[in-house]
Amino acid sequence: MSPVPAAIEARALAKHFGATTAVDAISFAIATGSVTGLLGGNGAGKTTTIGMILGLIAPTSGAVSVFGVDMARDRYRVLGRMNFESPYVDMPHRLTVRQNLRVFGRLYGVENLSRRIDELAESLALGAFLDRPAGSLSAGQKTRVALAKALINEPELLLLDEPTASLDPDAADWVRSRLEDYRRRRGATILLASHNMGEVERLCERVIMLKEGRIVDDGSPRDLIARYGRESLEEVFLDVARGAEWRERSA
């Protein structure tokens, strides 16, 4: 029996923008069915890494494959099995939520689309605004709609970039619960970039820590907390972000 390919495999993946190194030859593999967090401060290279996984950004060197498919050469073979949510992209404001979901459902070749939209409307509580223009919704409602779009094709791989940014704690908690439900039900692989340590601790079984484009640590939240001798992932994050001097001072 051939081994199951990693959901994502990055090999010496690098991206330079002129003289700036955004991602510096990182290598990692994400196991199928796992939830992994990409953690790092602003400019650590999280979004660039996700962009390269999606094929939106061409690596300067190295390679990334999804389900064994090279994203630089063959991404259309796997794009239908993955999806993405980010505050950096939006949906047409004048279209209603239902119209947006219909369009994306057809782009992804979703069968029984009306039923799928009904399911999403129920599980993400979209019913009250399903026929309202997407641009007229509150930040929390927009996030739920973006999540519905990201789940329309029941992706095997879900990439999330700050999925709960700009949400109040209640709405953010609600979104996390839906993500946990989806992952449990579908057995999907999730890669999550976030600044929210509570979110990462709750959702992720593995955390890859990035700083200045490099992987500086990698492990389960519990292992990382133990390794740094801290009480929370937030303290670990500060240790990594501020460096050894800070670590010694604050120990």
């Binding site: 939106l56 950004i57 949906m91 369009v103 994306f104 057809r106 782009l107």
Partner: protein, 276 residues
């Protein structure tokens, strides 16, 4: 849950066309805008033509001026065809940029060629919405029967549409590569061709050294063909075939430019954070 992912899917093209039709349906000002300018332009030039004709009749040169007036209205409608077809393509593409939706599309199974096919379809739909009522207005107000051009009209439309799409592809690529700073090009690029494509005057009116350049532009053949149709009542198939050949080259160059600029945008990392 997702179906197969063929290299070209009419269903995905249809999904994009549906997206633009939803948008059009949601906003009556967008629809009205499609008809407004062509109608205003046609009325302005039509009344000018009527005035000149009346003055010519008074001066005893009515026959020649009536023909000149006919070519003016015809040229105006065909120029608007070229302009509206390019805008129909480019504005539909810009809608994706304005709504910050391009990232969603580029990570979906939608292929660039399918997006382009949807933009071409929208260009034809927007053109029809804008120009069909205006062509009837031209007939009603000024007695200019565009439909009377028959087969020539089809050839004119096809050639102008092909040119507009080639230009639209380059504009879309430039916006992808350079962001919304390049948006203005979509509105102004076509006017560069206005003096050289000999819309309102024959190629012979240009200085000799410019005539070679004019004959490199497919619209030049269309406008010369229009004058031949109105003045000599002849359909110049030779001109249309030459325009078609140049258009084939232009479209291939436009498609190659679009793909090259898309590749360049991926390299520059500009596709994730595009918007207004």
């Amino acid at each position: 849950m997702s179906g197969a992912n063929p290299d070209f899917s009419l269903a995905r093209v249809g999904a994009m066309v549906m997206r633009y039709l939803y948008l059009m349906r949601s906003s009556w000002p967008r629809l009205a805008d499609l008809i407004y300018w062509p109608a205003v332009q046609m009325m302005t030039w039509g009344f000018l033509q009527t005035y000149i004709r009346a003055q010519s009749q008074a001066a005893g040169v009515s026959g020649r001026m009536a023909v000149a007036g006919g070519t003016l209205i015809g040229a105006l409608l065909l120029w608007d065809t070229l302009f509206r077809a390019q805008l129909g393509f480019s504005v539909s593409f810009l809608e994706e940029m304005w709504s910050r939706n391009i990232g969603n599309l580029l990570i979906s199974p939608l292929r660039p060629i399918e997006l382009v096919a949807a933009l071409m379809t929208m260009s034809v739909i927007r053109l029809a919405i804008g120009l069909v009522p205006v062509a009837f207005l031209a007939q009603w107000f000024f007695g200019f029967n565009l439909w009377g051009l028959g087969l020539g009209l089809v050839a004119f439309f096809v050639n102008l549409a092909l040119t507009s799409w080639a230009i639209g592809l380059v504009v879309a690529g430039l916006v992808l590569r350079n962001g919304m700073g390049a948006e203005g090009i979509a509105w102004s690029i076509l006017f560069f061709f206005l003096p050289f494509a000999c819309v309102y005057y024959p190629v012979s009116a240009l200085p000799e050294w410019l005539q070679g350049f004019a004959w490199c532009l497919p619209p030049t053949y269309v406008f010369e063909g229009l004058r031949a149709a109105i003045v000599a009542h002849a359909f110049r198939a030779d001109l249309m075939l030459e325009a078609l050949a140049i258009n084939a080259g232009l479209l291939a160059a436009g498609g190659a430019s679009f793909l090259a600029l898309l590749r360049s945008a991926r390299k520059a990392g500009s596709l994730l954070q595009m918007g207004e």
